[in-house]
Symmetry: D2
Amino acid sequence: MQLGMVGLGRMGGNIVRRLLRAGHHCVAFDRDPAPGAALAAEGAQAVADLPAMVAALEAPRAIWVMLPNGAPTEEALATLAGMLSPGDVLIDGGNSMWKDSVRRGAMLREKGLHFLDIGTSGGVWGLERGYALMIGGEDAVVRRLDPIFAALVPGKAAASPTPGYAGDPRAEQGYVHAGPNGAGHFTKMIHNGIEYGMMQAFAEGLDILHHADSPALPEEHRLSLNLPDITESWRRGSVVASWLLDLTAQALAQDPKLESFSGHVSDSGEGRWTVQAAVETAVSAPVLSAALFARFASRDEDRFGAKVLSAQRKGFGGHLEAPKDTTKA
Amino acid sequence: MQLGMVGLGRMGGNIVRRLLRAGHHCVAFDRDPAPGAALAAEGAQAVADLPAMVAALEAPRAIWVMLPNGAPTEEALATLAGMLSPGDVLIDGGNSMWKDSVRRGAMLREKGLHFLDIGTSGGVWGLERGYALMIGGEDAVVRRLDPIFAALVPGKAAASPTPGYAGDPRAEQGYVHAGPNGAGHFTKMIHNGIEYGMMQAFAEGLDILHHADSPALPEEHRLSLNLPDITESWRRGSVVASWLLDLTAQALAQDPKLESFSGHVSDSGEGRWTVQAAVETAVSAPVLSAALFARFASRDEDRFGAKVLSAQRKGFGGHLEAPKDTTKA
Amino acid sequence: MQLGMVGLGRMGGNIVRRLLRAGHHCVAFDRDPAPGAALAAEGAQAVADLPAMVAALEAPRAIWVMLPNGAPTEEALATLAGMLSPGDVLIDGGNSMWKDSVRRGAMLREKGLHFLDIGTSGGVWGLERGYALMIGGEDAVVRRLDPIFAALVPGKAAASPTPGYAGDPRAEQGYVHAGPNGAGHFTKMIHNGIEYGMMQAFAEGLDILHHADSPALPEEHRLSLNLPDITESWRRGSVVASWLLDLTAQALAQDPKLESFSGHVSDSGEGRWTVQAAVETAVSAPVLSAALFARFASRDEDRFGAKVLSAQRKGFGGHLEAPKDTTKA
Amino acid sequence: MQLGMVGLGRMGGNIVRRLLRAGHHCVAFDRDPAPGAALAAEGAQAVADLPAMVAALEAPRAIWVMLPNGAPTEEALATLAGMLSPGDVLIDGGNSMWKDSVRRGAMLREKGLHFLDIGTSGGVWGLERGYALMIGGEDAVVRRLDPIFAALVPGKAAASPTPGYAGDPRAEQGYVHAGPNGAGHFTKMIHNGIEYGMMQAFAEGLDILHHADSPALPEEHRLSLNLPDITESWRRGSVVASWLLDLTAQALAQDPKLESFSGHVSDSGEGRWTVQAAVETAVSAPVLSAALFARFASRDEDRFGAKVLSAQRKGFGGHLEAPKDTTKA
């Protein structure tokens, strides 16, 4: 099947690769010609600009945009919308805000175009493991592109069957048609929100293990623990067994004290939007928000909030905070 | 190898079964004679009381106590300590507080006995999948009982190798000798603390998905999402893939609205002790504590804290809270 | 000075009253004629509709809209904007979203009108104590209406002077010109966000005091505490002395177990918008979000998130949650 | 009335001063002779050691120990217990753990001595404003020492009467007999836990105000806000009016960007014990714990937990965290 791919970064490039390996025909474009050339050597048809991509595809076309969210995605979709013909499909596989996908779907429908918003999980491992896809859009369009999705997902054998599952068989392959436009990115947003919470749960638990030899503890309670061994052992049979644990064990195996990391943690939009969605739907989400705030705090060189606390403490108690407190060993 | 097992509930009984299947000789005791009789039919030697168990085992003996934490475990260990001979090993495989294990290890050492505190993860699935074991105690004793542990854990094949792992090969089998007495239960405590955080991350994310059709959202943003399909699809290739997700997908496959559950969630000691350990070591653990507090709140029929809020709102704003607010659909 | 007031509820009506007492001339309107009639008896000029209000005021007019946020405020401002003359001032004294105030200010400026967004704190006590005002808008306009504001605020004597304060003397009267349009409601939003956090701090602390006799504690540690006495005593000399404490002590004095309250706590927009502002500016706000989420949870009859936890616990441990757990006494 | 004071630091010294001003007779001791000499110049009787103090007081004696909690308090109480006579009263006015006060009360009762645990709030302002006292112990002993307490507290005039209050009139003076031994320090612990929550609520709200000009916001939404003016204005008529706000406004008046503070915030035992008490009584306390954890995080130079997040992000997404992220302006 034919697919155009706009944006050949880590995600877009590997999606093309996985499709090529499955025998699909990919027309590939990136502002930077290098990744297109590399993919051409693997069988893709690299093009020099968007008009060339449109010309290279037969109607009804399907073009997957895999760009940073915000302006780059907005512009690419708008530009392509002006070049395509009724019946063509535009796909946003990036990490767009779900409300943008609702809006874009409506806008494209007015032009007779179809739109799919696809949340794509898998990261750098997707090429080998396959991608989990969460799709929003019209049912007929999702079914039309089924060969593409079937090639991208990990496939049914990637996990043991769920006893009692009688739902959509595509979910057992690794992808879900979550609903109309917006549903794909909404589902991906929540996926990432959960991911933030799980990551922070590991971060806090391992932080306590790391401090189990704290001089704040009575001497007979201090423990010096081997985190690489512990996390490796949890990978089998434990309740916390997970892909994130696999990655954590791997990182600790290679750098037991994680000294190669700064501890300034970035966040992408989904963690923020998840908290906003919780607020908008009045759902209590203390863990998902705490996970987001821990990232904010990890980057807060300014410490203004903490300075307010210090100022209050000085105000009522005459305490002057030391430049560096050493309570935590 | 010989092992005595005291306490033949869900965990103790299945540990005996898994050992029997591996060819070990198990002497089994429970206050209730029924589970011992059942295990006798599967090859165990059921005994009628603790003296009979001690008599049935050759020195140096190893007796595994698998009882509820607190008084039952304390009493069983004390009673057995009075019957055993120097060189014998007492194992506490339950969910004891790690400081108790430090204390008990010291107490038993004074009598010439050995003590192992073993955190055991695996639940009702351990019989088939194997158990993850986190062990505290003397190295020689842990090595002496290696055939027992090797039979209980899932084994190396249960997960793909971790690239770069060069630690204790036992961890790749599924068990870790975490350190001296206390280290086993400390590690298990943190494991469960992380488990609480991961569970709550899923709970909150799925709660938002469940409310994605909230009338609080503008009509064009409301989404009706199929949670069984979504969670099933995440099991393959996604970042949140985990055993907890497998179980969640299974529960939703069988009861899509989870109507068979009350939503009053119990907690065991480890979640609480994890928060206390964070406090004692000055580690910030907002996610692990939020996960614990969400369980407390789920059972809070009294709502006194919330009533304070209502009283304050009435005080400054004249607001009278409705008996049931319907903002959250 | 002349002022028109649209919306004569608890807040609008008392603002008129306080202005009348200070000798100002108020033209008052409400869809419901009753409150206008009541205010007319106290010296206001009640009018039957908005055109009558506009006719009753001399240019440059100042009209204060005090309506529920969202559609009612939007419509009243739009309608009045169509009736007013260049140089007139429209005031939104309600709890509008600050971004709406930015937008409305720009829209009204295009028509030659002035706009002030005023966050108003004080609730049912404002008539007697005065109102704290947080104002966004053009400096000249704020200064023109100074007599109005000066009459509404508590005045300098309401608190002892702050040593070293050398800022805007109006702040010492109880009002602040926070910045351009939006700044008034932004500041009020944060004020209310802080209020949520303070309220929840009291709620949690008193909840622990309330449970100090919990059977979960060893008998020698159980305490039966008198909350009305404790909160009354804190009102003098303690670090938590505050108006919220005064109100809490009063509520407890009148209903020591707060049995007249349901514990289903509503929330208004500001608490939600505060969390969203934290997310947008990457500020860690765990307390302000936890305070909001505690209110959401207090109304969550559905408990879907908690049911997910129960389902997972059953999945891995065979635990079946009791319909009602009694751990918390 | 006579009182012995052991420990003449900021708190103990000023308590003596306030008692002297009220005409009481104080016998004062500190390891360091300087503060005793200073107090002698103000009318106290300084003594050189504890035996001299015991000799200087008439039976039944009352000796107030005002020392750092933990070993110093434990040792002073034990030493004095060996010197006193039946009927004498020992007072611990420091910030001891409430369970220690339960234990010490029982231990002293066995010797025929009386014990009072008194939580003392007021900090450096107590000398002028008076101290809020939370007292645990026997009723007759509390009543016997009433002249001392009456001299220390702010007195009824320090706050307006609470409508409907019909409880213990001593609470209206500013002190509460909270219950038996332990109740004083338990109540003070919760007081401080609430204090932590209130402080953090202000810290977060002001942090958002501080970042209202963040480049992360669209240009038309950026606000440059004057925090000294805003906090000053809130002191009158607003819902967040409080002593902590007074102190905050004062700090901002003197140092608008709080540049004299490091933002490494210490914590004393009460915040930690409050979280532990919440855990022990199964009360959900997300705000009180988040406030504590924010302090821990403010001092966490190690960032191990955050490094775990970075390592996971690199693992699944190939993200390499920059040494310093600049998302937060």
